[in-house]
Amino acid sequence: MKGYNFAYLDEQTKRMIRRAILKAVAIPGHQIPFGAREMPLPYGWGTGGIQVTAAILGADDVLKVIDQGADDTTNAVSIRRFFAATAGVRTTTRTAEASVIQTRHRIPETPLTEAQILVYQVPQPEPLYRLEPSRSETTQMHALADYGAMHVKLYEDIARWGQVAISYDYPVMVAGRYLTSPSPIPAFDNPKLHRMPALQLFGAGREKRIYAIPPYTDVRSLDFDDHPFAPPHARGACALCGATDAYLDEVVIDDRGRRMFVCSDTDHCATRRDAGHLGAEGVAP
């Protein structure tokens, strides 16, 4: 911790981020611009999430960081170490033990509680970006709640492919007002956004935007009456813990094309194995 302020950022920067977070909570789903700072890791590695975490973190917090559900990947390990070094906070891999969870592209399988805050790393906060690259134009579209273009995109997907061809970063309406990017979480995770008891904060460092979904807020994945939102499920069970209701990664395991499914959420998988659930290739930990 020597040589740095608590949690790396200086106090004026924290105040600016904290003000943005509070306005983000007051206007669910609306992107608030903020003065993202240069962080000691490159854009794309979670600089937005890290700045949000740095602004909320206190000495009593217990921090968990996941990258695609895993606690043991490079990004997750280095961010966890970063805060252990600059804030001296306790870190954990257990979802239930954490008070702040920073995530890249997943929502933990274990249901979160009111006492927890989920911080998302967001590469592109603007859900309309692929349809309208101009920021000033999308600002107007949000101001007018003019989201027809996104409905046309979904309609065209259905006309061409028979279904909405979006498997991650599936756009949602937050509290019936703002079209919002849930960050590149799999569409599988979208139902967890709806009325989640935990506060959800989103930070985009390169794009310099913060937004939020307060607890118990209605979050609807865009769909049509005759084509209701139906998130895809893997056709298989976790080879290690046997789970069929979790988000599964498909892994190629040899050069003859054999594959296995494993839980993306490593803590969920380990907890299940601890409790005696074993899949086809699972061994007790």
């Binding site: 608590f6 004026q12 007051a26 206007i27 669910p28 909320i56 206190g58 009325r195």
Partner: protein, 198 residues
Amino acid sequence: MSSTAPSQDGLALPGFAAPVADAQACFRAVLDAMAHPGRIVAAGAGLRPPAPLAPAAAAVLLTLADADTPLWLDPALAAAAPWLAFQCGAPAAALAASAFVVTTALPALEDIARGTDAVPEAGATVILQIAALGTGPALRLSGPGLAAPALLAAEGLPAAFPSFWARNRALFPRGIDLLLCAGTRLAALPRSVTSVAP
């Protein structure tokens, strides 16, 4: 805490004892209050701002206000102006141009910054000091952040407050966010609160 007698303008009164940790704790309390409208949280315990500025209101300002946030102070709280100027450095500004409005009586909604449809976050945060939180007539709140409608007991809100809030809500996503402060207690009404009924 200093044992010397405070000077007339309260300038000698200290701010946060541990500025980094205390600001963080106060921010998390305010965040908790904003995320759960109507929830009463503690803020500013141990802080002795110049009267009649409430410790909770003072803590919020020490936590969030700085040179980047124009501030409007109710003349009834003018005794705290030099202390706030020294501790926060927030420039005094006209009511309509202020990011933070600190007051003992709600101004007319039309006189406060409410943001624009494109930049709704420019709507002000109004810090309203009232007589008490947790006692007094109850308001029924609903909206994001609440699993079920919540009751907030508050003493000292104007009788017309539900209609004030209905007009604020009608502006959404424009509007103001309200922090109610009484002593060392604080509750929030973000503009996302859809209804306030007696």
